[in-house]
């Protein structure tokens, strides 16, 4: 009697050794498919599992080499040695350097880069600093800035469980129409973040990464820029994304009905119905 073949998904994960900002790092990278490289950036306080559905979408994988990595401190990537001696804070400089180090280490030729939330912000920095290195940039839940609307200290203090509060905090950023299993998987990712990591990412999001004054310099003739934002995202609202796009000639905006702040993981089927036409245009 022969056993049934194991039902593996196509994604394969490996650990990548590289230097970022002069420090040695070990990053977890997943990929699937072949063709145009599509580098995917997860949200603050989460990891590359958010792109599981895209890494398992046969239609996308037929034309794109989908790659998702965990930022240092996130998912299965390690924090750098010495992490225990100071507070984690993501800056725009470190974030851009990390992405470009991954692009170089993997030898990616003009990849598409798609980021969500903090990833949707950093693609603006990529458009300003490295536009010629990318075939296209896609910002999910993008805004040029974010005002803090609660005291971020609640995310990291000994009398409040970090995993519980991070999961509960972001639960309302998911659309009420999201399927139950995908909603709670998305929350689970947040419950597993390391202490202070979500808060450290939000330093970039709320303080360091404000690019309102610079986005008008983005040249979409060098690198096309697409924005997709969910109607239930009360952090990077449709209004904030429209305001951003209005400052950048040539940038395109799609408002996604029935989606919130985590489109790739909270409702993958609905998200893919909005993403596929964008990818088709990029592929030409």
């Amino acid at each position: 009697m022969s056993a049934a073949a194991p039902r593996f998904e196509p994604a394969v994960g490996r650990y990548l050794r590289l230097d970022i900002a002069g420090r040695p790092h070990r990053l977890y990278v997943e990929e699937a498919g072949s063709g145009i490289p599509l580098l995917c950036l997860h949200t603050a306080g989460a990891d590359s599992r958010q792109y599981r559905a895209l890494l398992d979408d046969a239609e996308t994988l037929a034309r794109f080499r989908v790659i998702a990595f965990d930022l240092p401190w996130h998912g299965k990537s390690s924090p750098p040695a010495g992490w225990h001696k100071g507070e984690y804070r993501l800056t725009s400089r470190l974030y851009v350097d990390t992405i470009m180090a991954v692009v170089d280490a993997l030898g990616l030729e003009r990849p598409v880069c798609m980021g969500c939330s903090i990833g949707g912000r950093i693609v603006l920095h990529l458009a300003l600093e490295h536009a010629a290195r990318f075939r296209a940039l896609i910002g999910l839940e993008s805004g040029a800035h974010a005002e803090p609307y609660y005291d971020l200290d609640w995310l990291h203090r000994p009398d409040v469980h970090g995993g519980e509060v991070c999961g509960a905090m972001i639960s309302g950023l998911i659309s009420p129409t999201a399927p139950e299993a995908e909603r709670w998987e998305t929350i689970w990712h947040y419950m597993q973040g390391g202490p202070g990591v979500f808060k450290g990412d939000l330093y970039f999001y709320t303080a360091d990464g404000d690019v309102r004054a610079r986005v008008a310099e983005i040249d979409t003739r060098v690198c096309p820029l697409y924005f997709l934002t969910g109607e239930y995202d009360y952090s990077a609202t449709p209004e904030i994304t429209r305001d951003l796009a209005a400052r950048i000639p040539g940038a395109e905006v799609t408002i996604m009905q029935g989606l919130g702040h985590f489109p790739p993981s909270e409702d993958p089927d609905r998200f893919l119905s909005y993403l596929r036409p964008v990818l088709a245009r990029i592929a030409g």
């Binding site: 609660y150 609640w154 509060v165 509960a168 950023l173 009360y234 952090s235």
Partner: protein, 128 residues
């Protein structure tokens, strides 16, 4: 919001064993307001011991959640409109004011989000 507002909160919460379990380390008193109407909710080990209806002369509470009846009604819709689908979303827009010592609120955030959604689910249950 309906006639009952938060009147039936104790019965709804205490019937939810999983909610009570997750609140087992929670002892606090919360003031809820819907416009002119108010309730003091006393919670012990995740169970609601009492829901007293205002008005109150000198209420004592740990934290307070204040919104208009219209905002609570929107929050309790089966599919709320964007901005009214979550307590923190409502706080961001100013539709909900969250005040006081917020440690028990954030330490039990999922508990309070689910607790305060119960009247909406109950109203839908009665309508069916």
């Amino acid at each position: 919001m309906g006639e009952r507002g938060f009147d039936g909160l104790a019965g709804l919460a205490n019937a939810d064993a999983w909610l009570v379990h997750r609140g087992r380390f929670l002892d606090t008193t919360v003031l809820l307001e819907a416009g002119e109407r108010s309730w003091l909710v006393r919670i012990h080990q995740g169970r609601i011991e009492a829901v007293d209806r205002g008005p109150f002369a000198m209420p004592r509470w740990t934290f307070a959640l204040r919104a208009s009846p219209q905002a609570w009604a929107a929050f309790w819709q089966p599919v709320p409109p964007p901005g009214f689908h979550d307590l923190i979303a409502m706080a961001k827009t100013g539709a909900l004011r969250i005040e006081g010592d917020l440690q028990p609120f954030f330490a039990n955030l999922r508990y309070f989000k689910e607790l305060l959604a119960l009247p909406g689910a109950a109203a839908r249950g009665r309508a069916q």
